[in-house]
């Protein structure tokens, strides 16, 4: 757990024993380490277990990269490990420890091999598309190294080791995916949309994309997991945004808020055409402001016609954009959308972009406060945000636009 190692005064842990969160973190390192030790209770280099299914694809060495069929060292119904709709319902300790129990067996492959997959890759593809957990027996060449994955974009994963031999049993390909997998004349982006329309979640779609199971035969490629998640979020949200632009604008200001461990999510839907912004403010002592003394606000945005460059803020931009577009599609409306997130000290572990997507989705399921003007909406939000609301206003792109109206003349 070298990446999460933090100096916590030992007397605190003795008093707290994982119950009181005295260290101020959003999770308990002692608990997580203990949980994982329990799960990793196996010896030798042979692992057998039920993969949810779970496949990780690395990006180092591109185009020769590691493909990692992953499984916890036990059998049973492990589907929850890959079901993004369940993750928010778990507490952070359980979530992190269960995800870190996914042991990754590394197989090196060329990304282009997906255009003509050999049996090894076909097995991996069919496993990645399975609707049931797949039993895997795996022999690795050395003990698992400590290289766990805790990343801004990727959902946490356990340690890895090179695969000597691997066998799979009982995969049942999801019939919603089957047609798309065997349709070698369907472009990857159309495949992504098709799967989304059939009700697959982003995690499942990105998994299919990452194992090179979508797209025109000759163009099929294995895709690093981090890229495949963003590609799914971006492709689906692009389609939804195109669609929602046909709807009329909302006629009042709607404000949503959601508090989670160490996070505050805020959303304002304003009357007007589609516009979008995603802002994050990192407090000192939070994941990406570990060494700072002041709050850092990072924000990216798009106007009605969209962006032409990749947002610097990263993949979470498209995850939050997807959640916003889904909300508007459900309302059959368009709006100018601001989404702001505050990350407080103690939330210093990256969990992946799903955390943004699912929290924003959940936030939009709540009942909004309604206002007739922006200023009242902002005043209401100032009761929630720890960042001075003026800092958000100053950083916001949409507010500049909304305030550029005729009311002042």
């Amino acid at each position: 757990m070298k990446k999460t190692l933090i100096k916590i005064p030992p007397e605190l842990c003795v008093k707290c024993r994982g119950a009181k969160m005295l260290c101020g973190l959003s999770y308990c390192p002692v608990n997580i380490t203990g949980n994982i030790k329990k799960i990793y209770n196996f010896s030798g280099n042979d692992i057998s277990g039920s993969s949810p299914p779970s496949i990780f694809v690395g990006r180092y060495g591109y185009p020769k990269i590691g493909v990692y069929p992953s499984l916890p060292p036990y059998t049973g119904n492990t589907a929850f490990l890959e079901d993004e709709s369940q993750w928010l319902k778990m507490n952070l300790n359980d979530f992190i420890s269960s995800r870190l129990s996914l042991l990754r067996g590394k197989i090196m492959m060329d990304v282009n091999s997906a255009s003509n997959p050999d049996y090894t890759l076909q097995d991996i593809q069919l496993t990645s598309l399975s609707k049931n957990p797949v039993n895997i027996e795996m022999r690795v060449s050395k003990s698992f190294n400590k290289d766990i994955i805790l990343d801004e974009n990727i959902t946490p994963m356990g340690p890895s080791s090179p695969v000597d031999s691997i066998s799979y049993e009982n995969y049942k390909i999801d019939n919603r995916i089957e047609k798309v997998y065997y349709d070698v004349d369907l472009k990857a982006s159309d495949g992504i949309i098709k799967l989304y329309m059939k009700g697959l979640n982003i995690n499942e779609i990105s998994r299919a994309l990452s194992t090179g199971s979508l797209g025109l035969q000759k163009n099929r490629k294995i895709v690093p997991t981090r890229w495949s998640i963003t590609a799914a979020d971006e492709t689906v949200s692009n389609r939804l945004v195109d669609e929602l632009k046909d709807y009329s604008a909302i006629d009042e200001f709607l404000v949503f808020t959601r508090k989670t461990d160490g996070n505050l999510f805020m959303g304002i839907l304003c009357p007007g055409n589609w516009m979008f912004e995603w802002g994050e403010s990192w407090f000192p002592g939070s994941t990406w402001n570990y060494f700072g003394n002041s709050v850092e606000i990072e924000l990216d945005y798009e106007g009605y016609y969209g962006r032409k460059t990749y947002p610097e803020i990263g993949g979470c931009y498209y995850s939050s954009r997807l959640a916003a577009a889904e909300k508007l599609i459900k309302m059959r409306k368009q709006a100018c959308v601001m989404l702001w997130r505050e990350i407080y000290p103690g939330f210093n572990i990256p969990l992946g972009v799903w955390y943004v997507r699912e929290n924003v989705r959940e936030m939009f399921n709540s009942v909004p406060e309604k206002f007739s003007d922006l200023e009242s909406a902002l005043k209401y939000l100032s009761g929630y945000s720890r960042v001075p609301i003026d800092s958000w206003i100053h950083r916001s792109n949409n507010i500049k636009y909304i305030r550029s109206n005729l009311d002042a003349y």
Partner: protein, 249 residues
């Protein structure tokens, strides 16, 4: 009982509906003794369209008293679709319905409660500096900017009118010297940015060979004055379009 009754060419009616449609989906018309007027502002209060339709635009105009009529523009569009542009339509108000007669077709649409549409506040805007040019020339500059940015910066000085857009990667600019426009009056150089999308929608609803008058100040709302419809000078629809500036950070 005398009812409000008027006849208007389909071409003129379509121009009115299309123009209002650039900012709203429902509108409240003020029907007066001397003509019809309407003010409409978009939900974000960024753009306003004001139209004056003098009674000379109508071939028949019987208005016994001032009144207000609120309608869903989409419903009028569905009536217009039934006619050809050379047709004339007779419009009669009958209680809470508006009756349209086009040749052999009679169609009634229900009105919207007047209280449901607020009367927009008309901003007080005036500027001494302006340029008069054809809609087609202005539109060229907007089209050039369309794929560059969502805002356009207009600049006016003694000798030229500029319309410029920039993004991180691309840039577009139209420069019209004084001798290529109909009229240009400017004392001090002025510049201001405006959202492109609204301008594009607006110009689409004006005929290509129309002259438009554009006036503004630095970081100040834009005013575009234009005429709509066919007919001689005193039987034209007069329009005014106001657009809030895009403040640059």
């Amino acid at each position: 009982m005398i009812m409000t009754r008027m006849s208007i060419s389909i071409k003129n009616l379509k121009d009115i509906v299309d123009m209002l449609g650039t900012v709203v989906t429902e509108a409240k018309f003020k029907i007066g003794i001397s003509g019809v007027s309407v003010n409409a502002v978009d939900p974000a209060h960024v753009a306003m369209v004001s139209l004056e339709v003098p009674k000379t635009v109508f071939s028949e105009y019987d208005v016994p008293a001032d009144e207000e009529i609120s309608v869903d523009l989409e419903k009028i569009r569905s009536v217009i679709k039934l006619a050809s542009s050379a047709d004339t339509v007779i419009i009669t108000k009958d209680k809470d319905k508006l009756k349209f007669e086009i040749g052999t077709i009679i169609k009634s649409i229900s009105l919207i409660d007047n209280d449901q549409i607020t009367n927009p506040r008309v901003p007080q805007i005036a500027s001494d500096d302006y340029v008069v040019l054809t809609k087609a020339d202005f539109e060229k500059g907007l089209r050039a900017a369309e794929d560059v940015s969502d805002a356009i910066r207009l600049t006016l000085d003694k000798n030229n009118f500029y319309a410029k857009s920039t993004s991180d990667a691309d840039e577009s600019e139209m420069i019209l010297p004084k001798d290529m426009v109909k009229e240009l009056v400017c004392n001090e150089p002025i510049k201001s940015s405006y959202p492109l999308e609204y301008l594009l929608k607006l110009v689409k609803s004006i005929s290509s060979n129309e002259d438009i008058k554009i006036s503004f100040k630095s970081d100040y709302p834009l005013t575009i004055e234009f005429n709509l419809g066919s007919g001689n000078e005193n039987a034209r629809i007069k329009g005014r379009f106001l657009l809030a500036p895009r403040m640059e950070s």
